[in-house]
Amino acid sequence: MTTKPQIENEGSVKAEGRPVFLLVYLLIGIAFGIVLTHAEVLSWFRIQEMFRFQSFRMYGIIGSAIATAALSIAIIKKSMLKSASGEVIEIPKKTLGTGARYAVGGTIFGLGWALTGACPGPLFALIGNGVSVMAVAVLSALIGTWVYALLRPRLPH
């Protein structure tokens, strides 16, 4: 178990490339698309209700999602579980830097979140839901990402 972790990791990279693992991610994604729809978190109406503080619903959803995820991460870390692909589970820490990228980038995303009524996951789930014009929003988001890459050397991070 503890010997030659490097070789073990190489093995897992190969294992992951196998179609069966991609199928697992596809199925988890399908489940997530269904959940986003039924939780109604992809709805522009719900996002407006949240930013107007007129319902507890979205706060309850986000808060209990974080609590569930935090509890799961704590259990996984404590029991030092390995993933099905054979890797030791670890979550890389984000670097703080000046914090500017999080404050400014976060605010810019927030503006877009309220305007489109959707974050990236819901954008794709909405297209699946038949709001096909959101394909234009996805295209715009790709352009936005591209422009960020262009300006990146000149932006504070």
């Binding site: 997530f32 959803i61 209990s64 503006l111 790709l142 352009i143 936005g144």
Partner: protein, 185 residues
């Protein structure tokens, strides 16, 4: 299928289920739940240009996530075709506020008056979809994550950068709601 499936899920059901996607991806392949990096992977795959930000092996680091994302699209399709769609039961206060701003059609998941092909060339449709989409792409790339990567994965892992980002999400969202939408809708 049980009848609860077709009703609006209460927050205490929807929230924990969403949270479980974090351990599901960790346990499946040591993957961190975060959707917006897919925008970077797509750019890297389609139009990397000569930009350093897109010069990495997107197949190695992002193929799983792109597959996951295709699942999200399929899941949205399945959910909308399986069972009878209902309108979103928003609070009367929100409905009143939005009616005052000029929204009259409350059917579907997003107002048709803004999010439809023939509304795309109106000012409010264009700003909401095209400018809004641009800001989502630019902002998540700059912040290094969105609601899934920062608000859920990041906060659940007690990361300060994610807390700053989430405060930014709300600052931006409130600014758009109170200063932009009243003039736009």
């Amino acid at each position: 299928m049980a009848s609860w499936y077709f009703r609006e899920w209460p927050w205490y059901v929807a929230g924990p289920i969403i949270g479980l996607f974090v351990p599901a991806l960790l346990l499946a392949g040591n993957k961190v739940f975060g959707i917006s990096s897919n925008l970077r992977h797509l750019c890297s795959a389609i139009v990397p240009g000569k930009l350093e930000y897109f010069r990495y092996d997107w197949r190695k680091s992002g193929l799983w996530n792109l597959v996951f994302l295709s699942g999200v699209f399929i899941g949205g399709f399945i959910a909308s075709h399986w069972g009878t769609p209902h309108d979103i039961a928003i609070s009367p206060a929100t409905k009143a506020a939005l009616t005052q701003l000029g929204i009259h059609d409350f059917s579907g998941v997003a107002p048709h008056e803004i999010f439809s092909w023939h509304a795309l060339l109106t000012l409010r449709g264009f700003v909401s979809v095209v400018l809004g989409g641009f800001l989502v792409g630019f902002g998540t790339a700059y912040a290094g994550g969105c609601t899934s990567g920062h608000a859920i994965s990041g906060l659940a892992n007690f990361e300060l950068p994610s807390l700053i980002a989430v405060l930014g999400f709300f600052a931006g969202g409130l600014a758009a709601t109170y200063f932009i939408l009243p003039h736009l809708l």
